[in-house]
């Protein structure tokens, strides 16, 4: 991205000056000069399009890990007021509705556990259905699937997948309200058959990581983290059901926007007013998909616990937090001194509530919400905490962000060679897709250290711990 076209507001915040007659709202870009320079110009074009959507409140915002997406940029945040004609956009949520990360803390020390990492990797790979075409063991009839869509992780716990205590540490206690299974197409439900409790592919993973560095002792203690401890991160979403809802409503909302006279500079921004019949229909379906994703990660948590128990009988895995990064959520935010209910789209962005937020579990209320920035399989991930300095509708970065396209990555790396190289570095990869491994090469991603550091310096969240991967099950 050419920084000449931007105005720097402070070291880590930039804006795109408005041309005269330009009716769009403000655009804000969080990031350092090097991170922004490394972004495609399309990021700026896409977020400027978002800023022109009806009912936007404040600014259309990008996070430090932003990259070129479809419709919204990945790492895009936008809040809309339903009472002022605000819209909801399928393109602002994405196909993988409620894709997110469940992080589990263990009572295991990496040094003690290390001799069994190979065995653990093999057993996890055998237990966790991962990759294209892989199905799970759970087959639900239509009535049961509707219960998943209404109950989310709470449904899963009732079926024996995990513990009640998990729910305290899942967004919305594991179940969002407003889900309408009747708004989900039959094809979407059929696509989910065999996909409950599966990881998926692409950038999805289940990773066993070691806490290598603590940045903030007080918060780490509240999160139950210490150096040398093993933690597990599960990155996946709403699977085929969510993908089909995205598909169904993309076309429907594109047509609704056209009929309602909403100008879409990119048809992928497909949207309708929140209060319109189409907007309400999508909201009901999207909330159903969020519950599907929360149930999916709950089931995977249960499967992971079972595998750990086989290898480490003394293992205890507690949910640290479960947070989605492809959603639209109704939340209260203070804007210009007034508290307003807003629909906050976060596409490739994580919610990051500040200390004291009433929706945080008691354990974390004094330190802020746990936030997870997932890195590549060869570098590492960060756990951060929400801050009161956040001015981005309580949102922050969600990952390292791609630095190179998948096609370019395929030209640079060979999957098998990469896996062997990582194994020599002490990182065990298990995958059925050599193509997928090459596309997900650590070198194809931005420097996660830089993203996390800038996220902290920009006041979006503060670093708590750095996690180094040891075992990675790739989709």
């Amino acid at each position: 991205m050419n920084l000449q076209q931007l105005q720097q507001l402070h070291t880590y915040l930039w804006t795109l000056p408005q041309a005269s007659g330009d009716k769009r709202a403000q655009v804000l870009l969080y990031g350092s000069a090097p991170l922004l320079e490394s972004m495609d110009d399309k990021v700026l074009e896409q977020i400027a399009h978002v800023a022109a959507l009806p009912g936007l409140v404040g600014a259309a915002i990008t996070m430090p890990d932003a990259h070129w997406g479809y419709g919204f940029p990945i790492g895009g945040v936008a809040a809309f007021d339903a009472e002022q004609g605000g819209i909801i956009s399928a393109g602002g949520v994405g196909f993988d509705i409620s894709c997110g990360i469940r992080c589990l803390r263990s009572n295991l020390d990496a040094r003690d556990a290390a001799p069994y990492f190979n065995q653990l990797a093999d057993r996890l790979f055998a237990t966790i259905p991962a990759g294209v075409g892989e199905e799970g063991q759970i087959n639900l009839n239509p009535k049961q699937l509707d219960q998943v869509l209404l109950g989310g992780a709470q449904w899963a716990v009732k079926q024996g997948y995990g513990d009640l205590a998990d729910l305290d540490y899942v967004e919305e206690n594991g179940c969002v309200s407003g889900a309408v299974p009747g708004n989900v197409s039959e094809l979407a439900k059929k696509r989910q058959r065999g996909e409950m409790g599966t990881l998926g592919s692409g950038n999805h993973y289940l990773e066993v990581q070691v806490v290598e560095r603590i940045y903030d002792n007080v918060t780490a203690q509240a999160f139950g983290l210490r150096e040398g401890q093993l933690v597990i991160s599960i990155h996946c979403g709403s699977r085929g059901l969510g993908h089909q809802i995205g598909t169904d409503y993309l076309i429907m909302l594109a047509k609704a926007a056209s009929r309602l006279g909403i100008h879409l500079p990119d048809r992928e921004l497909a949207c309708a007013p929140i209060k319109s019949p189409e907007g309400q229909q999508y909201l009901g379906a999207m909330n159903a998909a969020i519950n599907c994703a929360l149930a999916n990660r709950q089931i995977l948590t249960h499967l992971t616990r079972g595998t750990f128990a086989e290898i480490y009988p003394q293992a205890s895995l507690e949910t640290l937090f479960d947070i989605s990064h492809n959603t639209c959520k109704e939340e209260q935010h203070e804007v210009d001194g007034k508290t307003r209910w807003l629909h906050v789209h976060r596409k490739g962005a994580t919610r990051a509530f500040a200390p004291g937020h009433p929706r945080l579990p008691t354990r974390y209320r004094d330190v802020g919400q746990p936030v997870i920035i997932g890195g590549s399989m060869g570098t590492g991930s960060y756990i951060l905490a929400g801050t009161s300095t956040n001015q981005a509708f309580a949102s922050c970065s969600h990952g390292a962000g791609r630095a190179m396209s998948r096609n370019q990555a395929l030209k640079h790396w060979d999957g098998r060679t990469l896996i062997n190289d990582l194994e020599r570095q002490g990182i065990l990869i298990r995958t059925r897709s050599m193509r997928g491994a090459a596309e997900e090469a650590p070198g194809a991603y931005k420097d996660v250290d830089q993203v996390a550091e800038v996220t902290e310096q920009a006041g979006l969240a503060r670093r708590v711990a750095f996690l180094r991967p040891k075992v990675c099950i790739k989709g």
């Binding site: 495609d40 399309k42 990259h67 070129w68 997406g69 479809y70 419709g71 990945i74 393109g91 994405g94 196909f95 993988d96 990759g131 294209v132 075409g133 892989e134 199905e135 094809l187 059929k190 696509r191 058959r193 065999g194 996909e195 998926g200 592919s201 692409g202 085929g240 993908h243 089909q244 995205g246 598909t247 993309l250 076309i251 594109a254 990119d266 048809r267 992928e268 497909a270 791609r402 396209s405 998948r406 096609n407 370019q408 059925r432 897709s433 193509r435 997928g436 596309e439 989709g475």
Partner: protein, 135 residues
Amino acid sequence: MSSSYFEHDADIGIIGCGLTIEQSFEAAAHAVFAIITNIEAIRPQTAVALEFEEADLELALVVWLNLILGKARELGMVFSHFHIQRQNDHWHAKAAGEKWHDGLERGVEVKGATLTMLAVKPIGPVWESRCVVDV
């Protein structure tokens, strides 16, 4: 007919070319499923009939690609052969392939076709259909 790809940061841009609109749609479908597996190894053992209504050519491409992706997932299959015909706004199609099994190469799951960089247009004597697919 030919299929190819174009650059996109997070996902993959697919291109299908053919002498007719229908051929370009078939080539686009080929490009999509070649991301999912080694499409040359997929035998057309089972055929599935599909149909849809769409007047807008560009939206029809997205509907077509998402329909075959959805059908493949629903049936646990991967497709390699495609045929589509247009009668006014009505599209009749057939996709053939086989069920997933251990011998098939696992590529990357395609979640859906998007409206980003979406275009269906003639370029000289050839029709080109393109869009970004989410992976």
